[in-house]
């Protein structure tokens, strides 16, 4: 079974976790000022990369906390996990290489 390294509990079996979508999607500060297209993009458009992806996970059947992970969407390998509000190690950050 795939083990996911919860930043609070340590390595735990995958079935205790739930996926929470792409991480670091910031809500626009002033939604009223946005065009419909820009608002739709915020709501629905995600990066969907082939490779490293920063995403939210929740240790639902454990500490129940949300955290972030960088996962390779090709290999399903978890590069790193980190608490909400923390910055991942630069070498793990998917956008740093761009």
């Amino acid at each position: 079974m795939l083990l996911i390294d919860c930043p609070y509990c340590g390595k735990r079996p995958e079935i205790e976790f739930s996926y929470g979508g792409e991480a670091h999607v910031a809500r626009p500060a002033d939604p009223q000022a946005l065009s419909d297209d820009a608002w739709a993009a915020y709501l629905y458009l995600r990066s969907n990369p082939k490779g490293r992806h920063a995403e939210r996970w929740r240790h639902t059947h454990g500490c129940a906390r949300f955290f972030n992970a960088v996962r390779d969407t090709v290999s399903d390998f978890f590069v790193t996990t980190y608490k909400v509000g923390e910055t991942p190690p630069a070498e793990a950050w998917p956008r740093a290489a761009e």
Partner: protein, 183 residues
């Protein structure tokens, strides 16, 4: 008005007692969920008579009371049914941001012990229950087959399992079925 009698989810079920496995429904007790940050944990300590565990997945005990770490700001507190703790804890926490909820009737518990206990639990629980990975005193929310449980290792060969009230018969039957080969 008719008298209301409390019905427990495992009422009428006899304990399983075998050479390698014993399973016993637990009597009613007080269960509190305390949520809060360090200030709330510090304020609760004198009323509890102990410090709340800050290490992940660890428990603390004093007398008949126990506190189980469930998350970085969440503890399950277990105490005897007649313990006045709920009121004293609420008084001690007044003025400190926290949430204190009595969940005594939300969930129910069973004890499972014996040389086969870990093996039987692993029939439905994916955690590594070896002593090096899950030592005495370790506790966590996890899953047992289709149910969420709180698992607490209370001794070398003894565990306490807590589950939501309506899940407890399922948990009991699942473990009893898994334990059949151990008599």
């Amino acid at each position: 008005m008719p008298d209301a009698a409390r019905v427990l989810p495992l009422d009428g079920i006899a304990p399983l007692i075998g050479p390698a496995l014993t399973m016993t429904p637990l009597a009613p007790c007080m269960r509190l969920i305390l949520r809060g940050r360090a200030a709330a944990a510090a304020a609760a300590a004198p009323a509890l008579g102990m410090r709340l565990p800050v290490l992940a997945c660890r428990s603390a005990r004093t007398g008949e009371r126990a506190a189980l770490w469930l998350g970085p700001d969440e503890w399950l507190i277990l105490a005897p049914a007649d313990d006045p703790l709920a009121a004293t804890l609420a008084a001690a926490l007044a003025g400190v941001a926290h949430a204190l909820v009595d969940v005594s009737h939300r969930q129910s518990g069973l004890s499972i012990a014996g040389s086969a206990a870990a093996t039987v639990l692993n029939a439905g629980c994916p955690l590594d229950l070896d002593h090096t990975a899950f030592p005495i005193g370790m506790c966590t929310r996890t899953v047992l087959a289709k149910s969420e449980i709180v698992l607490w290792r209370t001794g070398a060969l003894a565990f306490r399992v807590e589950a939501g009230r309506s899940f407890v018969p399922y948990v009991w039957q699942y473990l009893a079925e898994a334990g059949r080969e151990f008599g």
